[in-house]
């Protein structure tokens, strides 16, 4: 039986989707250049999701912005 490479053996496997699942009602406002929910910024210090909206929406692609 073929053995996988160590970096694959040590990998965490999980379901993947190409785009994050966004909170319901969140809309990207092209004119302003950021996400809005209920008329307020989705990502801000005092929003429902705070600055760590990525806790809800992110796909782990490494410590950079190189995810596809």
């Amino acid at each position: 039986m073929k053995q996988e490479h160590v970096l694959i053996e040590f990998a965490t496997k999980r379901p993947y989707s190409n785009t994050p699942i966004m909170p319901e009602g969140a809309i990207y406002n092209k004119e302003r250049g950021y996400w809005i929910k209920n008329g307020e910024p989705l990502v801000s210090y005092n929003s429902e999701y705070g600055t760590r909206v990525t806790k809800k929406c992110d796909i782990e692609t490494g410590e950079d912005q190189k995810g596809e």
């Binding site: 490479h5 989707s17 760590r52 490494g62 950079d64 190189k66």
Partner: protein, 312 residues
């Protein structure tokens, strides 16, 4: 004519939202281009005269006056895809990627970061060599597609990838964190296919993230439930993580600033480990994430917006 701030990002790069809101509140003229939406606009670039024109439903801009560029390095195709992509998508991915690099014609603008510097600084072996050269302590490291751990002085070691491992297979993806490993985990059959970074394991470590923006430094220790984390902290439940502001010794603080400058960067996210009284350089991410660290007292978004705005 207005001086524009150009932001090259992804619509799912949520941290960018924080900076854009700051710019909006400042009344700055900014353009955020997301890799997913480039085809929604009509875009013209005159490379010889460095003129950019963007037309779309909410925008009509033609300018040669771009004072700063925030290059969040939106990559279009990370690894060989786990799905079939048709020729139209292949074309779009490759050509937009090259187009964004082509915006280097605005070379007189303030770039955070200049793409060439970003690409150079992403090389982990280069990072380590240059960190050692400038005066950081660095862990003993061997990159090999063989039994590299045999070349380390330390019996305990970790492995990590040369570049982010994000592999897709059907509806799943594989992501590899830095992992502690044992010699028993290895055989030539399980290493030959791709190089691995083997690194001495540092005992009693405290993870420190240093975010450098020009001469400004934010240093944060990362703990879980009040304790240092033995493994890759990203494997911890996020709710358990704590980010504690710390002050680096002056010499380490200066090293971080000088190192980012040496690499030709304006922004860098450096990972250090503190062990006993020693600070050890682990790596730098020239486009490393920071949104998870930003708050009212540690307003990294403010600082990024400020330097983009004040650039001349």
């Amino acid at each position: 004519m207005k001086d524009y701030i150009l932001i090259l990002s992804s619509m799912y790069d949520f941290s960018t939202d924080l900076v854009v809101q700051r710019l909006e509140n400042n009344g700055d003229a900014y353009i955020r281009l997301n890799k997913e939406q480039l085809s929604d606009y009509e875009i013209f670039l005159d490379p010889v005269n460095a003129i950019l024109r963007i037309a779309g439903e909410h925008i009509e801009v033609e300018t040669s006056k771009i004072k700063s560029v925030w290059f969040r390095q939106p990559v279009f195709l990370r690894n060989t895809p786990g799905r079939t992509i048709d020729i139209n998508e292949q074309l779009s991915l490759s050509q937009w990627n090259a187009f964004l690099r082509g915006l280097m014609v605005f070379q007189d603008a303030y770039w955070m970061n200049w793409p060439q510097a970003t690409y150079t600084a992403e090389s982990k072996p280069y990072q380590l060599m240059s960190a050692k050269k400038i005066g950081f302590s660095v862990p003993q490291t061997i990159v090999s597609n063989s039994l590299g751990f045999e070349k380390l002085s330390s019996k305990k070691f970790i492995i990590k990838s040369m570049d982010t491992v994000l592999l897709k297979e059907n509806d799943d993806c594989y992501f590899t964190y830095t992992s502690k490993a044992n010699p028993d985990d290895f055989s030539l059959e399980r290493t030959r296919q791709a190089p691995i970074t083997f690194q001495e394991y540092i005992e009693d470590k405290l993870d420190i993230r240093v975010t450098v923006i020009d001469n400004k430094v934010y240093a944060v220790a990362i703990k879980a439930n009040g304790c240092a984390i033995a493994d890759d902290w990203r494997m911890q439940g996020k709710d358990a993580l704590e980010y504690i502001d710390i002050e680096l010794p002056d010499n380490v603080n200066k090293l971080c600033i000088d190192y980012v400058k040496m690499l030709g960067l304006k922004y860098g996210a450096i990972d250090l480990i503190k062990t006993k009284d020693q600070y050890v350089f682990i790596e730098i991410n020239p486009t490393g994430e920071w949104g998870w660290l930003s708050n009212y007292e540690r307003a990294i978004d403010y600082e990024i917006a400020r330097v983009l705005s004040e650039a001349k």
